[in-house]
Symmetry: C2
Subunit: 443 residues, 2 copies
């Protein structure tokens, strides 16, 4: 077998089949300049014995994914090959128990074992995850049924919601600053062109959102789930509105208030450390970008009631959320380790926010490929800061977050996940532009 | 009381309260040039007696609509006033039984009695219907429950579907030619500007639809429910695709085939007189404009299966349909007299076409105000040809169709009905433009 090139990775002959090497600390390189492949040096030296049943199990796992161009190297050094070649990635299992755990609950254990370094990936992690998404029937059958009893979405209480949000968002602004854009926008960006930078794309997303809301000077806007405050501040600064922005992440609210002060926008933007369910008052517009994923489908009607309560007769709104092609529970590992209480709805489920209150859905835009791009940027920046992040936390944290970012990228690029921006208004309000041209041509 | 002006109608004092007069034959004038109001001459001369309970009943009906600026004149000549004034329309009931029928089943009997001329409207029929939509709680409570047992949507069989379609579409192309645009497009137009004519707006709709489908030369397109063939012919003529267009209306198919021949497009556009469920073959794009209203929610999954069967891996599609803010049955009279078997779905119901097959919904555009505009044009043209239509059919037919067109206009202008254009594709297909700018700026 000679060296061959596949998807940007130069693969070299190894003892059995081909081997693409994980670089040090399990990191992989997404830099498109690095097309030369990885040197063979650094491949793990594994010893031990595997049973025939274990090799059969590994083969069976590959088959269940549609025999993708991946191979699995066991702790014994033996390599089980997928049918397709040339291979673009190798999974290394460092011990016997790792194989059995993976076989018993692949969806959850892949993440657990990867985080622990007992499952290593040599080659292109994103491509491997994309292959696994493509191999499973779209939106899941095999994975779907395996562990579906475990991760039923629920309606989070106020206290539970606070704990869930704390888990993800309060781990340190310094960490997020390492790989987000300058404005700290931790939601899908909007790339008007192929060459738009992440920084510009996040600003474009803020502007795109404001145009959809048709904001007018001095209007009152309420934002549910405001992150580090970028949208609230942008709306006030560039569209002259007054904003009350809610968030239950303490670290984010503190940061957002500092920014408001620095920008001298304290009189126009109020950051409230409270749950969306406690929103009071009347507003011209409601906006929520990237919060619905934490609301849980059991609370969608309650969210609709909040919007119904707070919007005036000409009220309009926008909800931006990760979505699915059809109702399906969250990935088990993500729901446990990354987003406890998280749930990404199908459009049919999102309508439960609007239909009980007869809001008119005016516009739905699916931006999933923009999220894939956004995640590629985040992952590249994350990798550039991996050593620093390892020092801030530990290796397990780096591997866990790498897998989360790479897996999300793969989910959006393969159509496993969607990103819906839904614009709506009061049904009797006819103050709607004739066309959506104002979103584009005036830019 | 002196003469006053309201909504373009000059109202004159009458024996009791104000009276706005229906012009001859029950027609009303939508021409915006006619701002002078109607002369008092021509007011009906009614005689007879009404009971106190009957006057109470009439008052109660007005109250249930939120006391709009309408009054009701009984067969006795007595006028029951709504609380608001000045009045913009008067309902005249010509006999006692008409009142009792109307009170017992207002939703259905309004249409029946109006068609029979036993309920006449003096003044602005559209404004009266708009008031009644606004007066009922949005998307119906009072009307909703009164007769809901009667009009459950059902999944039409092939034979039933044929009968339903025959009822509406096979009543004569000459009739439709009197009030549709030149290209005979009997679905919501698209008005890029305030001054776009109906003819131009229908062409703009065809182009808007094609752009959403991203048609490429020599691609194969299947159309389900093609009307008189305008979209199929437009796609072939302006986008160079090959089209198979299905329809079960015999009159429409005959007409469409003649047009294809006249345009020398017979080799590129095939009109098939068959049900959408019998679509066979593989296509690059699926399109259906204004057919879903006849499919019935029980058949949505079957429609999805047809699309799934006939679309290739890069397949994409568009469904254009009247919709609702939430699931609600059709207006009883419309379902009986105008569109038997018809049902206009909420977006949550439309998702049943896509979700079982994991299609990605890419774009939803609500064009309801475009439909209100379209209907205003149709109604104006219809009124201009009312005498001719009366000769072709009879007075009952004219009154029935006037009410249908005016009621539809009111339903769209008050947000009672929506118009959803839903664009979708195979979930794994990433051949999607980054933004929707191509729909607008290149025009």
């Amino acid at each position: 077998m000679t060296a061959s090139n596949y998807a940007g990775f130069q693969v070299q002959p190894s003892r059995k089949g081909v081997c693409v090497n994980e670089n040090k600390s399990g990191a992989f390189d997404l830099n498109p300049d690095n097309q030369g492949g990885y040197p063979l040096a650094g491949a793990p030296n594994l010893t031990g014995h595997s049973l025939a049943v274990e090799r059969w199990l590994a083969r069976r796992m590959l088959r269940s994914l549609g025999d993708p161009p991946i191979n699995i190297q066991l702790w014994s050094g033996e390599v089980v090959e997928g049918a397709a070649a040339p291979h673009i990635a190798r999974i290394v299992l460092t011990d016997r128990a790792a194989l059995w755990k993976l076989a018993s609950d692949p969806e959850y254990q892949f993440g657990e074992l990867y985080s622990q370094g007992r499952l290593q990936v040599y080659g292109d992690l994103v491509a491997l995850l994309e292959l696994s998404y493509r191999g499973s029937s779209s939106d899941g059958t095999f994975r779907e049924h395996l562990t579906s009893w475990r991760y039923r979405p629920h309606a989070a209480s106020l206290r539970r919601a606070k704990t869930n949000i704390h888990h993800h968002y309060d781990i340190g602004n310094d960490f997020y600053r390492l790989w987000l854009d300058d404005a700290m926008v931790y939601t899908c960006a909007y790339f008007p062109t192929e060459t738009t930078t992440l920084e510009a794309a996040q600003q474009a997303k803020l502007e795109h959102t404001c145009r959809k809301l048709r904001l007018r000077e001095n209007e009152n806007v309420v934002e549910a789930g405001c992150g580090w405050g970028s949208l609230a501040l942008y709306m006030a600064q560039h569209h002259g509105v007054k904003v009350r922005a809610f968030n239950i992440s303490h670290e984010q609210i503190v940061y957002a208030r500092e920014r408001a002060k620095a920008l001298d926008l304290e009189s126009r933007v109020e950051f409230v450390e409270d749950d969306y369910r406690n929103i009071a008052g009347k507003y011209d517009a409601f906006v929520s970008v990237g919060m619905l994923e934490h609301v849980g489908p059991g609370n969608y009607e309650a969210l609709g009631a909040v919007i119904d309560r707070c919007l005036g007769p000409d009220g309009r709104g926008l909800i931006h959320s990760i979505g699915r092609n059809r109702p399906i529970r969250m990935n088990a590992w993500i729901a446990e380790r990354i987003f406890p209480g998280g749930y990404t709805p199908a459009l049919s489920e999102m309508t439960r926010i609007f239909e009980p209150y007869a809001f008119s859905i005016l516009d739905v835009e699916n931006l999933r490929l923009h999220y894939a791009r956004t995640l590629r940027h985040w992952l590249e920046r994350f990798e550039r800061s991996a050593d620093q992040i390892r020092q801030m936390f530990d290796d397990r944290f780096v591997r866990m977050w790498r897998l989360y970012l790479a897996g999300s990228l793969a989910a959006f690029s393969t159509g496993w996940m969607q990103l819906f921006q839904v614009t709506f208004n009061r049904t009797m309000c006819n103050d709607v532009p004739l066309t959506r041209e104002h979103l584009y041509c005036a830019r």
